[in-house]
Symmetry: C2
Subunit: 145 residues, 2 copies
């Protein structure tokens, strides 16, 4: 699958999958703190994080989840598709420096409503860190170009 | 309510509210694209966006949603609290340059499980752009310092 895909409702089928991978380093976590205003020290202060159950600084949950947005918005269904909803269950911490793999799998295609349901999850190695579901709306071809 | 609050399960009650506000300009959207890898042109390319139903570039849904994370992670319940889950329903677009207000309201306190359920939403002016629900876990005081 190429890096970027144009969303096309007709080409979508249950069982199709896509993924992206990315490493979130300290600079990324700091940039997300600036963007969101979330300067919680568990993300930014190693001394503070050492006093928590996590031991080391952890990546903001919604920064990790942003990779799911990247998969569905640029790969499957891809460019042009619009987020209807996303559920996120945070199952394990992502530590600063971890490489995250975000996966999406088509579980339902609602052709009349032009909607696609995808099972979404993020992993660090073999460990599942986020699970959830995305619903995307795919525009008619006339709106894509 | 001060800018930052230490999460304290005993002080939480149904009906408490908190909010944060933030304006997402082009630089913020570009920074989020770099962070997430989501370079969908509907966010970054005014000419492309003009051909879509949105007319103008829109803010990534998960960038808008990051403000919810900021409310629950730094205000209510606040610092030390950990995300269990977040649901997001994207109801209307947020255009680049819009000021977003993210609100959280406590709807349930599960003292035995140390969990808090909050109704969460984002608004641009009077328009509701995201609705959803957050569940947070609040650590015992011994872990907070």
């Amino acid at each position: 699958m190429s890096d970027v895909t144009q969303a096309n409702l007709e080409a979508l089928e249950v069982g199709q999958t896509a993924f992206v991978e990315r490493t979130f380093d300290e600079a990324a976590v700091r940039a997300f703190a600036e963007l969101s205003g979330d300067f919680n020290p568990v993300h930014l202060d190693a001394d503070f994080a050492a006093t928590t159950r996590f031991g080391r600084p952890i990546v903001h949950g919604l920064l990790t989840a942003s990779l799911i947005s990247t998969v569905v918005g640029t790969r499957l269904p891809g460019l042009g598709s619009i987020y209807v909803s996303q559920s996120l269950r945070f199952r394990a911490p992502v530590h600063v420096g971890d490489t995250v793999r975000a996966e999406a799998e088509v579980t339902e295609v609602q052709r009349q409503r032009r909607r696609v349901v995808l099972s979404t999850r993020c992993l660090v190695g073999d460990k599942v860190v986020i699970t959830g579901e995305a619903v995307m709306w795919v525009p008619p071809a006339t709106e894509e170009e």
